[in-house]
C-alpha cells in the first residue's frame, strides 16, 4: 500500500485537511474519509454523473479525480448548497416539479444544474438538455428535471 498523502483543500467554503491513498478517488475521499455521502457512486467510470461535484468552478465527475489532486483547490458538493434555514432555489424547483423519484442521481444533477446556472443564468431548454447529458436518470424521463432547472433559472 502506498503511503498516505496529506491534502489541504477547501470544501463547501471550509478549509479541510485529510489523509488519503493516491489510489482513492475524490468520490471515495468525500464519502469514506470526509463522510460527505451526497455525491453518489453510480458507474464509477464517468458515464452516469451521479458523483458530479464542482471543482474550482468546473463540473467534474468526482470518480475521475484523484483525492490527491485537490490539494489547494476548492470543491463544492450538494452538502454545501442549502442555507441552514432554507433550500437552494434549484432544490426548491426540484421539489416543486417532482423532478426526482429514487433520488440517486439527484445530488449530481443538482450540482450539474448549479454549474450550468453559475455559467449561464438563463439557459434555453436545449442548453439545459445538452448540459445535463452526462447525468443519467432512470426514473423521471428527464422532462421534470429540465423543467425544474428552467424554473430555477427563472427564480434566480
Amino acid at each position: 500500500m502506498a503511503k498516505k498523502s496529506h491534502v489541504q483543500t477547501t470544501i463547501n467554503g471550509e478549509s479541510v485537511e485529510f489523509l488519503c491513498e493516491p489510489r482513492q478517488s475524490l468520490l471515495e475521499v468525500l464519502r469514506d474519509e470526509l463522510h460527505l455521502t451526497g455525491a453518489k457512486e453510480g458507474c464509477n467510470n464517468g458515464n452516469c454523473g451521479a458523483c458530479s461535484v464542482i471543482l474550482d468552478g468546473r463540473l467534474v465527475n468526482s470518480c475521475l479525480v484523484l483525492g490527491v489532486e485537490i490539494e489547494g483547490k476548492s470543491v463544492e458538493t450538494i452538502e454545501g448548497l442549502a442555507d441552514p434555514e432554507k433550500l437552494h432555489p434549484i432544490q426548491d424547483a426540484f421539489l416543486e416539479n417532482a423532478a426526482l423519484q429514487c433520488g440517486i442521481c439527484t445530488p449530481g444533477i443538482i450540482m450539474s444544474a448549479k454549474a450550468l446556472l453559475d455559467n449561464n443564468p438563463k439557459p434555453t431548454e436545449y442548453e439545459v438538455r445538452y448540459w445535463l447529458a452526462g447525468n443519467l436518470c432512470r426514473c423521471t424521463g428527464y422532462d421534470k428535471i429540465v423543467r425544474a432547472v428552467l424554473d430555477a433559472a427563472e427564480a434566480t
Binding site: 502506498a2 465527475n61 489532486e69 445535463l132 447529458a133
Partner: protein, 292 residues
Amino acid sequence: MQAFEYIDAKTVSEAVALLGEKGDKAGLLSGGTDLIVQAREGKKNLDWIIDIKSIPEVNELTFDSNSGLTLGAAVPCYQIYANDSICESFPGLVDATVIIGGTAIQGRAGIGGNLCNASPAADGIPPLIVLKATCVIAGPNGERELPVEEFCTAPGQTALEKGEMLISLKIPVPEKNSSSFYLRFIPRNEMDIAVVGAGASVVLDDSKQRIVSARIALAAVAPTPLFAEEASALLTDKEINDDIIEEAAQAAQSIARPISDMRGTAEQRTHLVGVLTRRALNGAIERVRDAA
C-alpha cells in the same frame, strides 16, 4: 483501484526523467478521464501516476497570427471551446471538443489526452489531422516534432518512445478562405462513442466556387484515425460541385477498413464514411462561404 504512487511533476525534465526511470509502470495524468478508468479496470497496471498539470508548457493556450495555435497537451476541452480565437479559426476542432463526453468530462479531458489515448474512435484526432497539427514531443534526447497523422500506431499505441511525452500541439494559422468541420454518427444525441467520424478542411479561391486544397480524416474505421490522403488530393484545384464531392467521398470509403462490433457493422461504417465525408466537406465549404 490498484495502489500506485502519485507524483505532481513541476517541469518537463522532471516528468521525462520519471518516465525514463519507471517505464511502462508509469502513466501520465492530465484530465484522467481515460487513465483513471483504465487503472481502475486493470487495463493499465501502473505503479506510478505522474500528474503533468503543474507543468507550465502543457497548459499553454496561445494563438499568434504568425505562428498559429499552441495547444498544451493538458488543456481541457472547455478552455478550447471558450476561446474566441479557436472558435473563429479552427471550428472543426471546436466541433469535436463539444461532443467529447458530457460537460463534466469536458471540464477535465483535453485534446492532448484524447490523442495520447490513441482510440481509433477519438473525436479529437480527425480535426487535428485536417488542421495540419504537429505534435511537440519531449524526451530524454530533447524535443522533436511529428505530424499528428503519424502519432497513433495502433489502438492505444502511439509513436512515443520510452521516456517521451506529448507537450503540445501546434496548428498553423488558417489560410485565407479556409475552414474546417467535424461530425460523427452516433445513435444517440450526445454522450456516445463515434460509430464513424469524419473531419474536413478546405481552402477555397476568392470566388469561393473552387477548392484550392482540402484535407479529409476519418475516425473509427481502422486501427488508427486515418488521413484520407488520396481523397484529399482529388479535390486540389477543383470546381465545387456534387460530383467532385462524391468522388472524394468514394475515395475516402476505399481506404476505410472497419470492423463490425456492438456499435455498427463494417458495411454500415463504410456507408457512413461516404455520408459523413460529404457532409464534412460541404460543412467546411459552407463555413467559408458564410464567413464572407
